[in-house]
């Protein structure tokens, strides 16, 4: 969340008030104010401990236990992790999660960037385009899944119908191990492109026009202008989309649950669906928690890695 501002927006100071004194040095009035401050935060503080910090600690504990909800958790140390790392299905699921995330995110960013640059022109209809491309993002994932199930239907589906017009006998899309994941990724692009586009559009509008004018004066061609101005100026927005999309993609659940239930032959089972299956269908809460820890570590590593590498390419990346 420390992506620095690239838009010359009204600046908002981080600390608007002078440094606050220690409790013992505070006047009665200041103490009263401080108490009010904490009281205003009370619902958030309670919820933080009850619904976030507590469950976080419990999640770590469960990961080292055998827990089926009926009997109290039994401490088994690293057994869950040993079982997991020796399990072929786990590695398959782990790999498929990466397949999904990396099939989704880079392509979405490139497509959304192209889209945003096209829409960011002074011409008719840009508002309509923006709306149209954004609608899938706000649609219920269930409704979207239902429609796409039909699009991919092998016999009466729209896609195979189109293909039949050009004489191609379309594949079984979601029912085939090889085509199932790419089909879901394609649908994922459709669903998520609008969000990235909206952020890029806002970023593009914040780039000062003088930069482009000066570059044109210097004889820079469109490609040079893109790499020398657009990409660096947009890099904080790209970075933000990248980090949040990766975090989101690693936690994908809805499409897999609704469209394939992880099938065929687990070809579209990803981490969160696997956690759901183990925890809530087979009641292996401890094992599922251990898997959640691995997912957590993976996400954190990726986020941290992007953060560390950001100073090499993100414009004005301070800390």
């Amino acid at each position: 969340m420390t992506v620095s501002a690239q838009v010359p927006a009204p600046s908002q100071p981080v600390a608007a008030t002078p440094p606050r004194p220690r409790w013992s040095e505070m006047s009665g009035l200041a103490r009263r104010e401080a108490i009010e401050g904490y009281l205003f935060l009370l619902p958030n503080i309670i919820a933080f401990f009850v619904f976030l910090a507590g469950p976080m600690l419990a999640a770590v504990y469960f990961a080292f236990t055998n827990y089926d909800l009926t009997w109290p958790p039994r401490f088994t140390f690293l057994e869950n992790f040993q079982v997991m790392f020796n399990n072929d299905l786990f590695w398959q699921v782990f790999g498929q999660t990466f397949y999904w995330a990396f099939g989704m995110v880079p392509a979405t960013i490139v497509l959304a960037l192209g889209l945003a640059m096209m829409i960011n022109r002074e011409m008719r209809g840009v508002l309509t385009y923006r709306l149209v491309y954004f609608i899938p993002h706000v649609t219920l994932s269930v409704a979207a899944s239902i429609v796409w199930l039909w699009v991919y239907h092998p016999d009466v589906g729209f896609l195979n119908l189109l293909l039949s017009y050009v004489g191609i006998d379309g594949p079984q899309w979601l029912l085939n191990r090889r085509t199932a994941m790419p089909s879901l990724i394609l649908m994922g692009w459709w669903k998520s492109i609008g969000f990235a586009m909206l952020i890029f559009l806002a970023g593009l509008q914040g780039i000062p026009a003088e930069l482009y004018e000066a570059a044109v004066m210097d004889g820079a061609n469109p490609r040079q202008r893109f790499w020398a101005i657009t990409v660096p100026m947009l890099s904080p927005a790209i970075f933000f989309v990248m980090v949040t999309s990766i975090i989101g993609a690693f936690q994908g659940f809805d499409v897999f649950y609704l469209m394939t239930r992880g099938g065929p032959a687990n070809a579209t089972t990803t981490m969160v669906l696997h956690i759901y299956n183990n925890g809530f269908l087979y009641l292996k809460m401890g094992f599922a928690s251990a898997m959640a820890m691995v997912l957590f570590a993976t996400i954190m590593l990726f986020t941290l890695g992007q953060w560390l590498y950001a100073r090499n390419w993100v414009h004005g990346f301070a800390d």
Binding site: T17, R121, T128, V142, L161, Y212
Partner: protein, 300 residues
């Protein structure tokens, strides 16, 4: 369709300077035409599924399977919508989702505005450190809390109740962040006048701060409502009784209830009905929605 937007001002200067001697308007016109062509093709892909959903919801079951398919139904079957409402619990699911989404939204608005005000304006030791730490919690992936949260709800005896859907959802770190950013830009003079009149902090929050915070309240309300309305995983884990199902769950159940000959025309009518409220909300509040995205994405 397009709702008027103040935030969108295309940077046109790109086309203003053209050293290549080509007439400015001519080059722009060709560029525009080309852009329109690509964007329109893409638009068909984007709205295509919806168009098909809408068209199918008005067809007979026979026409659905007709080859080649028709885009405009031969005769509009309004009755599909009636059948959906009479033979399924769709109306009930909509009501359930409405109740849960509105409750969470009201709760989030209240707690986030209180906390945002505290972080923006009240002095207390450790304020900015606590704020940064609280922001950090947004990085915790929700998926890892799934199992402990479920166990917690079970100890509270909240399984299969709306408490489990509402209570953990009524605070939001993101909402607090959004509120704080906005409230820091409210001029202090507004509060000072009320102070001199001897108003309490709570009174100032309610009569001075909240009324001028309407735009950010709208932003947070739309985001929260849509988020809860669309949520699938948590309700699937918590709810057991079909009469308590939320709309996404009900729709998913509806879809899997017919193993053999799927009544696509009815399912499409139900899907259309489920998409409409959220689409309407989005179009009405598009400006606030975009503002929320811009605040998080670019100023965070």
């Amino acid at each position: 369709m397009a709702v008027k937007q103040e935030t969108l001002q295309p940077a046109s200067e790109l086309q203003a300077v053209r050293p290549d001697g080509m007439s400015k308007s001519g080059a722009k016109r060709i560029g525009d035409l080309f852009t329109h062509l690509i964007l329109a093709t893409g638009s068909i892909v984007m709205v295509g599924p919806f168009a098909w959903m809408l068209s199918s919801s008005f067809k007979t079951q026979y026409e659905i399977y007709k080859f080649p398919p028709t885009l405009i139904p031969e005769s509009i079957q309004w009755i599909n919508y009636l059948v959906v409402f009479e033979q399924t619990a769709l109306g009930r699911y909509v009501g359930n989702s409405m109740f849960v989404s509105l409750s969470v939204t009201l709760g989030v608005l209240l707690t986030s505005s209180l906390a945002g005000y505290s972080f923006a304006r009240i002095n207390f030791p450790g304020r900015d450190k606590i704020f940064l730490m609280y922001l950090g919690t947004m990085m915790i992936p929700g998926a890892i809390l799934l199992i402990p949260s479920f166990v917690l709800m079970r100890t509270f005896n909240w399984i299969d109740t709306y408490y489990a859907l509402i209570v953990p959802g009524v605070v939001s770190a993101w909402g607090t962040f959004l509120m704080r950013q906005f409230m820091m830009s409210i001029p202090r003079e507004l509060e000072d006048a009320a102070y001199i009149d001897g108003a309490t902090r709570l009174r100032i929050y309610w009569t001075v701060i909240l009324p001028v915070s309407k735009p950010v309240i709208a932003t947070l309300a739309i985001f929260t409502f849509m988020g809860v309305w669309n949520e699938l995983l948590w309700p699937v884990i918590i709810l057991r009784s079909p009469e308590k199902f939320t709309l996404p769950m009900g729709l998913a159940k509806f879809q899997s209830r017919f193993p053999n000959r799927t009544p696509w025309h009815l399912i499409m009518a139900a899907s259309t009905l489920s998409v409409l409220p959220i689409l309407f909300l989005f179009m009405a509040g598009q400006k606030y929605y975009v503002q929320g995205i811009v605040t998080t994405g670019l100023k965070g």
